[in-house]
Every structure is written in structure tokens, then in C-alpha cells.
């Protein structure tokens, strides 16, 4: 069943400890930023930013709401990016953890198509065409440690573990959250490994918080990719010979 995350946004204070921990563990440089009138910083994910706390302000009947959404790759159980890439040396799923991983070989693939295929708009491209995103801290997880972001979260908003335990935890957090947030819900819980608990409608947090219906179904392009996948794999193996 591999691993999963629970990100309970009702407990997130937007401290961005996860964002910093991610940068530190992956030894990634800071992205130059400018003040855009929001605490969200930087403005978007990038080739060197895998984790970003998105912040949205909404005036509701119940007053001002400031919503935090610590975004990262969802590690889809059946990842469209992997299907689109169709190249297991570039994009593959680690069977032990369920992590969807990108390698340097992504440079040789059509990056735009892969990015397009992601229902959550996650992968980002380097100038040379290489793709990068959250890797579930594979090196840490393989050594029995928590992902850096989860380890650093001070409020208990982030959890990580065996999928069945996390799904169970998500349901119990949801019961708790519904006492205060009547619209609380889990996002795409059956199809992804990073389960978000939101107190309000997902679209209030971020345009790509939830996969849209159009995107969640398999597109014709992806279906074709899937059909050809075994051949491409065989071809790649032959090439490596």
C-alpha cells in the first residue's frame, strides 16, 4: 500500500517551516522574490522550489478568512505525468513508497506535455528542459526518517506514514474539523498520496487544489501513451542494450 501524507490545513498556521526544511534538505537555492503584497513567498513553485505555502484571503459572511495551502506534488497513485512521459528511466513510481520520481533524463522528454498532464500543475522545468518537483524525501524515507517538511511541522498539520493509517487519520481529523468547519472535506483522497483536509471549498485555497473533472479522467492522449508504453519500454531497453 506504500506511503501517504495528510496535510490538515485547519491546523496550518502558514509558518512555512516546511518550505524552509524542503530547501535545506534538498540543498536548493532561494528564488529571488519581490513583494507582491502577500506573505506568500515565492509566488509559485519552481525548478528549485518543491514546496510552497499558498495563501489566500477571502471575505466571507463569517468575516475575513486567511487560508493556507502547503502545496507539493500529490504523488498520484496512477500518475498522469508518468503515463505521459512513458519513459520509466525519466519518470517512475517507487513501488516501496509510492513516490513519483523524476530523473535527469526528463530533459529528453517533451516537458510541456508532461506539465500539461498534471491535474495539479506541479512539475517545473529548468532552462535546459529538465523537470523537478517534490521527491517525498526518498533518501530520508528509505532510512526510516520522516520527510523533512513533516518532521519540521510544529502544529501537527502534516503527517506521513503507511497509507491505510494515514487514510484512517484523515477521516478522524475530518470528523474533528467538521465540528468547526461545516464544509470541511478531504481532497481526491482515493487517487493521490498527499491528502489535503480543507475547511472550505478547495477552489478558495488554490485553483489547482483539486483535480478538475476534465483532468481527472484519462485523456485520449494519455490513453495512447499507455497503449504504447510497453513498446517504448522495450525500445528503451534495447537502446541501452
Amino acid at each position: 500500500m506504500a506511503k501517504s501524507f495528510l496535510i490538515d490545513t485547519t491546523l496550518c498556521t502558514g509558518c512555512r517551516g516546511c518550505q524552509v526544511a524542503c530547501k535545506q534538505w534538498h540543498n536548493l537555492p532561494a528564488d529571488p522574490t519581490v513583494n507582491m503584497g502577500s506573505y506568500q513567498n515565492p509566488q509559485d513553485l519552481s525548478f528549485t522550489t518543491y514546496k510552497l505555502v499558498r495563501m489566500q484571503e477571502h471575505v466571507t459572511e463569517d468575516g475575513l478568512k486567511w487560508l493556507f495551502f502547503p502545496e507539493q506534488c500529490r504523488h498520484c497513485i496512477d500518475a498522469p505525468c508518468e503515463a505521459t512521459a512513458g519513459e520509466p528511466t525519466a519518470v517512475f513510481t517507487n513501488p516501496r513508497t509510492g513516490a513519483v520520481l523524476y530523473t535527469a533524463i526528463t530533459k529528453d522528454l517533451p516537458a510541456e506535455e508532461i506539465i500539461e498532464s498534471c491535474p495539479y500543475n506541479i512539475p517545473r522545468m529548468a532552462p535546459d528542459g529538465t523537470l523537478a518537483k517534490c521527491d517525498m524525501c526518498q533518501d530520508r524515507v528509505d532510512n526510516g526518517m520522516l520527510p523533512a517538511c513533516v518532521k519540521t511541522c510544529p502544529t501537527g498539520a502534516m503527517s506521513f506514514g503507511e497509507r491505510e493509517e494515514i487514510v484512517e487519520m484523515a477521516n478522524s481529523h475530518l470528523m474533528m474539523a467538521r465540528k468547526k468547519f461545516k464544509n470541511a472535506n478531504l481532497i481526491d483522497v482515493d487517487t493521490i498520496r498527499v491528502i489535503y483536509l480543507v475547511g472550505f471549498k478547495p477552489e478558495l485555497y488554490h485553483g489547482f487544489a483539486m483535480a478538475s473533472n476534465a483532468e481527472i479522467g484519462i485523456t485520449r492522449h494519455m490513453a495512447l501513451q499507455r497503449m504504447f508504453r510497453p513498446f517504448k519500454r522495450a525500445g528503451a531497453q534495447l537502446m541501452r542494450g
Binding site: T13, C15, F68, G156
Partner: protein
């Protein structure tokens, strides 16, 4: 904090005002979130809607600086609606005390005001005393002269309409917050306040916090789990540096800095030791001379004797009525009054108000030593905007300091926990720990004064023996802070050997037979070992998150101060679930009781003459962060060419010369 971080989880209502805890104290929200999951209400009052506000169940804005009006309205609400904790207020506070009839309040001014001197003569404000010199009381709180009735009268003006006009907060919001918070006045309920520099840094900082303290007393929230008045300190060791007298007006352990009018040790002790004629008053500060003499013994060792007042005359005195705080110091620097300045772990050219004046002041110095991790605006002030380096005579020295993880020692967190830290990586390059720098600086100054100089006695007499194998030893300093028996003595029926560590401040003496660098920390490093290095994760029997064997907490490992007020007069907890201490018929269980004497009433309801009142006024002191402080970093640095007093070179501490390439995790 009167309580501590974990204890926030025990609260039923958390008021965060004058603080943006979610952003500035992220870990506190672990416990705030737990409390909320257990049904607690979180209230955020702030001029700005912050990340703290985003998590709050109730948010209200107020005009900056109107906190006293806001809280005054709450006092009126509590009193008008009889929401105060009656038994608690009558038995455990000075509400029943009778105030002299001369005390008046008219047109915004109290009686005894001298408009020419702009000062109050407070004589008329005193309590009425009986023939034995004990304050007169009316525990029914009905007498018009009681503190309670006077308070009622005083706060009568604070109706929600007036408060709303001053604060800008809508009346409905005021009423909602007052009702929600005042509900914690019910027996068994607890409300807590988390505040920080949003309160302390106002000119009315002290009054903000005192007003809240009154609310906490009225609601019976002091001493209980999930209650208290909790100052969130801005850096991991601000509490420690305050305890050890970072501020000019105190000596270690909140003893007073002597005034010029305190002409001898006897006069000093007489002036600052409070007296009580009430046989049931704890009056803990009656022990003041034991703490002051033990501190002097710690400073001057064998050279401090009863004949020379243990070296009292060697210590600087401040002029009566004169302040020596941050702004005053830079004022004097600006005027050119002094010539040298150690900027230690601070950056005043950025963090001081009127930075331009600070920089101008630094031009008047002969020398400036900047002890810091990095070069900064202070060390490089001479090349700052508008400066002409060729015309500035100030010689600047940079001493690179080791960061916190590169050195061994203790820090004390907001919850008063002294926690020992071990050295991780070695200091980079030629940077060195603070302790090394201060130790060596002291030795060098002593060496210079061997040949004379102005007023050399204090320097020559200073006990400065914290080296082990020629290196600064933080354990020796920690032991000195705890204190030693300096002779074989018998205290309270127990025999102690010369040279052993004092087990707690109850055993300190005022005759020079004990030392203690800071009486509040006596009990932190004993013959049983370094208490602050303990790491047991076992909770106390009351299971409220005290973890008494994890680190060490002042005073005497008491995790919740004033906890004697968490029980009724028979010693049974107001809150039977989240109890802090309880009397089992022969002794106290749970936390270390704030005063070990038996409960006020015996099981049959008769007064116990052996008991003492758990009054606050008897020992109220600045436990919490009542004053603004200029700087709160405590870091370290290095000097070159260390030498022993005889001119011998000190061995160099081993450092990491790799350039710190691999310091991650």
C-alpha cells in the same frame, strides 16, 4: 511565563493579545491547536489580522495602544455580572484589604498628586493596619474601603460604549470576547493570556500586563493548569539573560541594583527586604540578605568577608532616580561621556530607535568591539550612509563568535526551563564561544590591574576560576550559579560539607558560609548532578504535561508558579481533572508546591496555624517580562593571543578549519 509552553494545552480559553504567536512562536501553536481540539476557544485581539487571527475562533481589532481600555472594560464586565471567582478572590488576593480613606480618584488623577513635581505622594494609598501592624481585611468584600470595592468604583467608567469609542472595537465584539473569556471564572475552568512585545513595548507596557494580571486574579486563573500570565520571549535565551541580570536595574535573580543611597550592605538589605507583621504571611523576600550575601560570596570568594561587607563597596551603585537603560546609554555615548563600547551579540545601529543618533554616538568612541557571528552595520558603522571614514577616529575590533550549536552551556526558555545544550560542530575558523571570550577578557584585565590602576580592588578581588585544563568550563560556571557551601555547616538540621553544592535556596545563609551566583537557580546543579541536562519523558502523576524530570525549571523545579492557589483552602484542587497539586492529608502531591506548608484549613475546617496565605502580594515580583529590553541575543566571540595572568599562553580550543562545508543537519 508563570506557566509553560506545554501547559497551554490545558486551557479552556486562550487570549492572544499583544502577540502574534502563530508567526513568532510557531511551536506554541502545537499546544494551542491541542487545546482547541479539546474544545478551547482561541481569541485574537490585534490591530492587524495576523496568522494568529486566522486560527482564532473570535477575532477583534483594536486601535494600537488602547489595550488598557479594552481590558478595563473586561474588568467591569466581570464585576457587573458577578463572574469573578468569589472564594479565590476573597482568600487568595488582596481584594479584601482595606485601603486608607485618604485614597481618592478624581478627574483622572489619584490623591496625593503634586502637579509641580508631577509626582504622587502615595502615603494615603496604603492599607489600613490593625494594632499589630497586619492589614485589616473584610473577606465579605462589602466594606467600601476594600480593594475590591475601590476597584469596582474605579472601573465603573469602563462601559462598553466608552471602551468601544476608545478602542474602535465594535460593542458586540467586546461583549462576545468579555463573555467568552470571563466564563473561565467558573471553578474548574482556566483561561490563559499569551502576550509578547505587542504589550511590553508600549510606554504603558507594565500597566497593560498589570491590568491583565488583575483579570487573571479575579477569574481565579493564576496558579492553575491552563492559566497564568504568560510572556512569550523573543529568543531562546531571553528569559535566561533576564534572570541573570541583562537589565541595568537588577542583579542576578531580580535582586536590586544598589542605589547610591544604599551606603552599606546593611542599608542595602534593610532597604530591599520587605517586612510583614502577619504571622501567616509567607513573605518570601524576607530572605533577601541570604541571596545578596551569597551572590557577593560568589563574586569575590575568600576576599569578601563580613569586615568588608563581602565586597559590597566594590560594586557600582546607580544614582537614585536616574535611569541607565538603552536610550540613556546611547544618549551618553552621543554626548561623548564614555569612550569604549562592547556591542555583544547585538546590532544597535539597526535595532535601536533613532539609528542615526546611535551611529553619530559611535563616532565619539575611542574603541568599539563588535562581538558577533557576522560583520554587521554596527561593526561597519564608519562606512555607513553619510559617514566619512577618514574623519572617524573610532577603532573597531571584530571578534567572531561561535553560534549557539557550536558551544556547550544552558539556555532558559520562556517557560523558565533551564536546558543544557551540548556542543555540536566545532566553531568555524577562529570564532570562539562567548564564555571563552569573557573568561579571557577577565584574565587579561586582572593581569593589567596587577600593576595598579584606578580602583583596582574589585578587579583584583574578583573570583575568576572557571578554567579546567586552561579552558573555560561552562560546568564550573553553572555550579557557581547554583552555589556552594563554603564551610562545614548545619542548616535546618542538616549537615553539609564544605565544597559541596547547595541543594536549594532554602539552605542559603547571610553569614558568608554559602555562595550562589543566582539564588533563583540554586537547585539547578547539585550533588545529584546537572539537573538541566535531564531528559526523562515521564510525566508527573497529575498527567498535565509537567515532565518534571525533563530539564530543570526555576524556582526549585516548580513548573507552575503560584500553584498553591490552584487548590481550595483545604488543599483540594479547584479542577479535579487538570490538577496541579493536592494535599493528601500529610503532604503535597503533583508539582513542587509554591510554599510547602500545609493548607490553610484542616480537614475539619479549622484554620491550621502552621499554614501561610498563598497571597500574591507577599511575593509578587517581576517573574514575567514587565519591561521592554533593548537586545535579546546572547551569542559569542573570540579574542586573540589568550594569556594566563602570569603571561602564559592559554591552550587554544580545537576548531573546525574546514570552512563549514558540511554543517547541514
Amino acid at each position: 511565563m508563570t506557566n509553560h509552553w506545554i501547559d497551554i494545552q490545558n486551557s479552556d480559553c486562550i487570549l492572544i493579545m499583544g502577540s502574534n504567536a502563530a508567526e513568532n512562536h510557531p511551536v506554541s501553536f502545537k499546544y494551542v491547536a491541542k487545546a482547541q481540539q479539546n474544545g478551547a476557544t482561541l481569541i485574537s485581539v490585534d490591530p492587524r489580522f495576523t496568522r494568529t487571527s486566522s486560527k482564532a475562533d473570535i477575532y477583534a481589532a483594536l486601535r494600537s495602544g488602547t489595550d488598557i481600555a479594552f481590558l478595563g472594560g473586561m474588568i467591569k464586565y466581570i464585576l457587573d455580572n458577578n463572574l469573578y471567582s468569589k472564594e479565590y478572590v476573597a482568600d487568595y488576593t488582596n481584594a479584601p484589604f482595606l485601603v486608607n480613606k485618604g485614597f481618592k480618584f478624581r478627574n483622572g488623577v489619584f490623591s496625593g498628586y503634586d502637579s509641580k513635581k508631577r509626582k504622587y505622594d502615595k502615603k494615603a494609598w496604603a492599607f489600613q493596619m490593625d494594632k499589630n501592624g497586619v492589614p485589616k481585611m473584610d473577606r465579605s468584600l462589602k466594606n467600601r474601603q476594600t480593594v475590591f470595592q475601590q476597584m469596582k468604583k474605579h472601573f465603573n467608567r469602563y462601559n462598553t460604549k466608552t471602551v468601544s469609542k476608545i478602542t474602535g472595537t465594535p460593542e458586540a465584539s467586546l461583549r462576545e470576547i468579555y463573555a467568552t473569556y470571563a466564563a473561565t471564572g467558573k471553578t474548574g475552568m482556566a483561561g490563559t493570556i499569551m502576550y509578547a512585545m505587542g504589550w511590553t513595548q508600549h510606554t504603558t507596557g507594565v500597566q497593560n500586563i498589570r491590568t491583565m494580571a488583575m483579570i487573571q486574579l479575579l477569574l481565579g486563573n493564576m496558579g492553575v493548569a491552563g492559566g497564568g500570565v504568560n510572556a512569550l520571549r523573543g529568543e531562546s535565551n531571553v528569559q535566561g539573560s533576564t534572570d541573570h541580570c541583562l537589565l541595568w536595574h537588577i542583579w542576578p535573580g531580580y535582586l536590586k541594583t544598589p542605589r547610591a543611597s544604599n551606603v552599606s550592605l546593611a542599608a542595602y538589605n534593610e532597604k530591599w527586604t520587605p517586612k510583614s507583621n502577619d504571622p501567616q504571611s509567607a513573605n518570601w523576600w524576607q530572605n533577601y540578605p541570604k541571596y545578596s550575601v551569597s551572590m557577593l560570596k560568589s563574586f569575590f570568594g575568600d576576599t569578601g568577608t563580613p569586615v568588608n561587607d563581602f565586597g559590597y563597596d566594590w560594586l557600582p551603585k546607580v544614582d537614585d532616580g536616574k535611569a541607565y537603560s538603552w536610550l540613556d546609554l546611547f544618549d551618553e555615548m552621543y554626548k561623548g561621556t564614555f569612550k569604549g563600547f562592547f556591542a555583544w551579540g547585538q546590532n544597535p545601529t539597526c535595532s535601536g530607535s533613532n539609528a542615526g543618533k546611535v551611529r553619530e554616538g559611535m563616532k565619539n568612541l575611542d574603541w568599539l568591539v563588535n562581538v558577533n557571528l557576522f560583520d554587521n552595520e554596527t561593526g561597519s558603522f564608519w562606512k555607513g550612509p553619510g559617514m566619512s571614514p577618514s574623519s572617524i577616529k573610532t577603532e573597531v575590533f571584530m571578534l567572531p563568535a561561535a553560534v549557539a550549536v557550536e558551544k556547550e552551556g544552558s539556555i532558559t526558555n520562556s517557560g523558565r526551563w533551564m536546558q543544557w545544550r551540548y556542543q555540536g560542530p566545532k566553531p568555524l575558523g577562529n570564532s570562539r564561544p562567548d564564555g571563552d571570550i569573557i573568561m579571557e577578557l577577565g584574565l587579561k584585565i586582572k593581569e593589567v590591574y596587577e600593576d595598579g590602576g584606578a580602583f583596582p580592588e574589585p578587579i583584583r578581588s574578583l573570583k575568576w576560576d572557571y578554567l579546567t585544563d586552561g579552558m573555560y568550563d561552562p560546568h564550573k560556571v553553572a555550579k557557581e550559579i547554583n552555589g556552594y557551601f563554603l564551610e562545614d555547616v548545619t542548616v535546618k538540621g542538616k549537615n553539609f560539607k564544605k565544597g559541596t553544592l547547595v541543594p536549594s535556596f532554602a539552605f542559603l545563609k547571610d553569614d558568608g558560609s554559602t555562595s550562589s551566583g543566582n539564588w533563583l537557580y540554586c537547585n539547578s546543579y547539585t550533588e545529584k548532578g546537572n539537573m538541566s541536562a535531564r531528559r526523562s519523558q515521564q510525566d508527573a502523576p497529575n498527567n498535565i504535561g509537567l515532565y518534571p524530570q525533563f530539564a530543570w525549571c526555576w524556582p526549585v523545579n516548580r513548573r507552575i508558579i503560584y500553584n498553591r492557589a490552584s487548590v481550595d483552602p483545604k488543599g483540594q484542587p479547584w479542577d479535579s481533572k487538570n490538577w496541579v497539586i493536592r494535599w493528601n492529608g500529610s503532604k503535597w502531591e503533583g508539582d513542587v508546591p509554591d510554599g510547602g506548608w500545609p493548607p490553610l484549613l484542616m480537614a475539619d475546617g479549622k484554620p491550621n496555624p502552621k499554614s501561610k496565605h498563598p497571597y500574591y502580594h507577599a511575593q509578587a515580583r517581576s517573574w514575567s517580562d514587565f519591561r521592554p529590553r533593548p537586545c535579546r541575543r546572547a551569542v559569542s566571540g573570540a579574542l586573540r593571543a589568550p594569556r594566563m595572568p602570569g603571561g602564559k599562553e592559554l591552550p587554544q580550543r580545537e576548531t573546525d578549519q574546514s570552512g563549514g562545508a558540511d554543517l547541514r543537519y
